[in-house]
């Protein structure tokens, strides 16, 4: 793809196993698409964080008790104004409403439960399929600030 072409959609799908090099490779491809479409460093930080947390949740919680070789499906579609990331695991799913709020004083010292809230904080929308094994994250590119490219 022409690196200066910011008008077309950049999309793809990949099966990822729970290995750091495969996760890094997928994240790199998505971030390169963001760069091609003129997303800022701040947006890249947000998307990377949400993508890492989504994949970590899929492997750690979605695939809990399952064989280590089971893969997660990542689909992405990056356009000049917004992007969509979908992560689907092969587990039984979960109820996102049942995840306790980690920011409550009573939960502040619990060492887990922050991935989903960070995804929601940094993405424009985060939705799950009814089964709870596929998350769709959408992110709208913020308007450019005056004085910045």
């Amino acid at each position: 793809m022409n690196p200066r072409d910011q008008t077309t959609q950049d999309s793809g799908r990949v099966e990822i196993s729970h290995q750091r090099d495969q996760i890094d490779g997928a994240v790199k491809v998505v971030l390169e698409a963001l760069t091609r479409h003129g997303y800022t460093e701040s947006s890249r930080f947000a998307v990377r964080l949400a993508l890492e947390e989504g994949l970590a949740n899929a492997f750690r919680h979605g695939h809990k008790g399952m064989a280590a070789h089971e893969t997660v499906l990542l689909e992405w579609s990056v356009g000049p104004a917004d992007l969509t990331l979908t992560i689907e695991d092969r587990g039984p799913g979960f109820d996102p409403a049942a995840v306790p709020d980690p920011t409550l004083d009573a939960n502040l010292e619990l060492p887990s439960g922050r991935g989903l809230m960070l995804m929601k904080a940094y993405m424009t929308s985060v939705t799950f399929n009814p089964k709870g094994n596929r998350v769709t994250m959408k992110y709208a590119k913020p308007p450019a600030k005056a004085g910045k490219k």
Binding site: R48, A56, E109, L110, R114, G115, L118
Partner: protein, 119 residues
């Protein structure tokens, strides 16, 4: 005996143990587990540990890493020690604010400021 490569730089500044991360991205679960084990060893080596964790050079941090920091904080408290964090990049500091962990940890702008704060 073979040992895993350390993920930390550790130095003593007076009675404070100052820790920095070797990795710019603290995302890999296996590495995060190693980091937790290394810091736990540091805490257990001192009766009332004074620990400064500097995030200089750290670009990305996962929620699993935050979880390890919370466990470290709990262990330091159990040992009647003191924990300070410093040199946190503004984007990462925002993660602490969103998760309200800025209320749980004592965070200083620089390692020098943090060192002065130990009692």
């Amino acid at each position: 005996m073979a040992t895993e490569a350390s993920r930390l730089r550790v130095k003593k500044v007076g009675d404070v143990t100052q820790v920095e991360f070797i990795d710019r991205n603290i995302l890999d679960e296996a590495n995060i587990q190693l980091i937790g084990e290394e810091i736990t060893s540091i805490i257990e080596a001192s009766p009332r540990p004074k620990l400064l964790i500097s995030f200089t050079n750290v670009d990305h941090l996962s929620s699993a890493a935050l979880g390890t920091l919370i466990t470290v904080n709990n262990r330091v408290k159990q040992a009647s020690g003191q924990l300070r964090l410093s040199d946190i990049d503004p984007q990462i500091y925002e993660v602490f604010v969103i998760t309200k962990l800025n209320k749980l940890f004592e965070i200083h702008e620089t390692a020098a400021d943090a060192l002065k704060s130990f009692k």
